[in-house]
Amino acid sequence: MHIKQELTERHVLTLTVDNEAGTLARIAGMFTSRGYNIDSLTVADISEDHTTSRITIVTRGPPPVIDQIIAQCERLIPVHKVTDLTEAGPHVERELALVKVRGTGDQRVEAMRLADIYRARVIDATVNSFIFEITGGPDKIDTFVALMREVGLVEVGRTGIVGLMRGAEGS
């Protein structure tokens, strides 16, 4: 007998939640305990009175599982609203990465040239290193990091994705 694998889809979910102790653990733990995937998760306080946070989760699964994930999130008491940006229509996704490269001579010039093309900003520089700051969709960042690998990548830090619906309406 072998374990079967199913075809999966990537979905970006945003959750409006109560900003209280344990909320993040409850949501992240629910994903693990039910065997759902988390590609990335970001969370920050978004309300003036600090009572509400917004969580963006990138997950993956067959469509019925995505539907279950949303229902299971909604079942949690501190979760007020769940929006599936991928289903809801046009939306933007952005991520920020800090990318450190080391090198001298041609390598250094090439890193600078690539950063320019990708509109990455230099936020730290020494004679033999740079830290670039880059924002964009996850594909752009993946490609940029792959290129930096060729020219002396030391390390990367990524925030994970935040997303919003396009247009005037809130989600």
């Binding site: 344990g22 009175d49 009572t51 019925p64 229902a71 008491i77």
Partner: protein, 586 residues
């Protein structure tokens, strides 16, 4: 956001007790310890709350479940930190799976010690996070009253479940004169009535069905006795047959004409065949559990499925349905009745459908080989039912074959009379649940139908029954085996009976006497009725050691991973092996 109340200065423990009383609590099941001493001291001063001292915290949680399931009120548990809380976890998980409203109050080490591996510290909130409906760690006595109030609302509204409140010892001792008001706004809004467009559609489908079935579950019991009454009316109006999950028994009366018996793994042939062959399935407060559906791709392949449930995550979880309706099932059934009557629908001609059902009934799937030498376990249940049915007993069970035989051969005409661990399948549930049910229903006849293995898992609760003079009856179908395990080994592992024999059993009669109970033993079918009468006549707790045929198997059975149409009806159809795919299923 919050407007705080100013009140007389009180300790956290006093605020807790006051709020419990305000919430209508009259009984608490608990066990003391260092981290809850301030609460126990406050309890000592208040005579309004009866505290039931269990003998193990698992017993407290199951007793509270039994109390809740039989009274419709939330059950309240009070245990100490660390081992007190971890001992209660099985009962919390059990209540979570079976949607039983519980408030579990756990002591915790003082806030300044949390995280320091202090004596009897456990991360109760972390441990119970995914087996409770919600949980809290209260760090300020000013938050206690509003937290407890919210906890009762969460435990009882929507799909019920256990809520844990972890209270550090210093929060119990500290005093305050303010109460923080909680902004409950949109935080918890369970579904109520259904959308009329959906109800109209459901009624239309049901009225035009040629082979409809009502597949009912524990949600109807949770929705309240009104929901059971409404179910009966709807069944009458539409003329459809009714089946139920293990958790829903009693919502529709077993003596009703439309009753097909329980469905699923050990359900009746007629219920499972009707589920397989129906054209419209109306699922009411059930959740397409794997014990019910069998092999998913063969589950009721040609039917239109309507699913009414208060928990949206129960809909389309395993089986895709055609008409999902998120609503309180009792309210939705009443809406269906209203629409049915308003539009003057007539029950369709279902004669052909009922004729087919009659054919399936004729198989007589619950028949079993008789014996004059030995008590057959099914016979024991039948005789127990015959002797008690006029007393409308509350039946609890442990887990195993005896539980399934009780579900098959004991019949329930009313809700809240059948208390069993369905979702988690917890051995050791039945005795403490009987204690809790008897506390909540002092005049009722409460019987735990037990197995000799399961009863030993919470046997210490016999002392609780003795202390509070609870006349519970424990009826043990003693087959000297973990019968359900033995059955699976016979069916799946070519009768290699690995560790399933109940060796070194205690003398249950002597044990009963040691606890101050009456003990009765019977192994002769001819004497069974008299022995049962003796048990019922005794005004106190009785342990009945009913020695039954040792190797009987529970049939019918849908082997795990098989379709409803592949039921095993009798032992001679059993092959003794299974492929790995089937072995991998629970």
């Amino acid at each position: 956001m919050s407007e705080d109340f100013i009140v007389p200065e009180k300790s956290g423990a006093e605020i807790l007790i006051d709020t419990l009383i305000e919430q209508g609590v009259d009984t608490v099941f608990g066990y003391p310890g260092g981290a809850v001493l301030p609460i126990y001291d406050a309890l000592f001063q208040h005579k309004k709350i009866r505290h039931v001292l269990v003998r193990h915290e698992a017993g407290a949680a199951h007793a509270a479940e039994g109390y809740a399931r039989s009274t419709g009120k939330p059950g309240v548990v009070l245990v100490t930190s660390g081992p007190g809380a971890t001992n209660a976890v099985t009962g919390i998980a059990d209540a979570f799976m079976d949607s039983i409203p519980l408030i579990v109050l756990t002591g915790q080490v003082a806030t300044n010690l949390i995280g320091s591996d202090a004596f009897q510290e456990a991360d109760t909130v972390g441990i119970t996070r995914h087996c409770s409906k919600h949980n809290y760690l209260v760090k300020d006595p000013a938050d206690l009253a509003s937290t407890v109030r919210e906890a009762f609302a969460i435990a009882t509204k929507g799909r019920p479940g256990p809520v844990v409140i972890d209270i550090p010892k210093n929060v119990q001792v500290a005093t305050t004169s303010t109460h923080v008001k909680r902004a409950t706004s949109s935080r918890f809004n369970p579904a109520g009535e259904a959308d009329y467009a959906e109800i109209n559609r459901a009624v239309e489908l049901l009225a035009n069905a040629k082979a409809p079935i009502l597949y009912t579950g524990g949600g109807i019991i949770n929705s309240g006795s009104d929901a059971s009454a409404a179910l009966r009316e709807l069944a009458e109006l539409c003329g459809a047959p009714v089946t139920s999950t293990l958790m829903g028994l009693g919502a529709y009366p077993a003596s009703g004409d439309a009753w097909l018996g329980m469905l699923g793994m050990h359900g009746t042939y007629e219920a499972n065949m009707a589920m397989n062959q129906c054209d419209v399935m109306l699922c009411l407060g059930a959740r397409f559990d794997d014990r019910v559906t069998g092999r998913l791709d063969a589950f009721s392949p040609d039917s239109i499925k309507i699913h009414i449930d208060i928990d949206r995550s129960s809909i389309n979880k395993t089986v895709r349905v055609d008409l999902p309706i998120v609503a309180d099932v009792g309210a939705a059934i009443r809406q269906m009745i209203e629409v049915w009557k308003g539009r003057k629908y007539k029950a369709a001609a279902l004669d052909d459908w009922w004729a087919r059902i009659k054919g399936w009934r004729a198989v007589d799937c619950l028949s079993y080989p008789g014996s004059t030498q030995e008590i057959m376990p099914q016979y024991a249940i039948e005789r127990l039912f015959a002797a008690t049915k006029d007393k409308s007993p509350i039946i609890t069970t442990e887990v195993g074959q005896h539980q399934m035989w009780a579900a098959q051969h004991f019949h329930f005409d009313a809700p809240n009379k059948w208390l069993t661990s369905g979702g988690l399948g917890t051995m050791g549930y039945g005795l403490p649940a009987a204690v809790g049910a008897q506390m909540g229903n002092p005049d009722a006849l409460v019987i735990d139908i037990a197995g000799e293995a399961s009863i030993q898992m919470n046997i210490q609760e016999m002392a609780t029954a003795t202390q509070y003079r609870l006349p519970v009856k424990v009826f043990i179908l003693n087959n000297e085996w973990m019968g359900m395990v033995r059955q699976w080994q016979e069916l799946t592992y070519e009768s290699r009976f690995s560790e399933s024999y109940s060796d070194s059993l205690p003398d249950f009669v002597a044990l009963a006497e040691a606890y101050g109970w009456k003990g009765i033993r019977c192994s002769d079918p001819a004497k069974l009725d008299d022995a049962i009468a003796e048990m019922l006549a005794y005004d106190g707790p009785v342990m009945f050691d009913c020695r039954v045929h040792k190797t009987s198997n529970c049939f019918p059975m849908i082997p795990s991973g098989a379709a409803h149409t592949d039921m095993i009806l009798h032992s001679d159809e059993v092959s003794g092996t299974m492929d790995d795919e089937a072995k991998a299923l629970v």
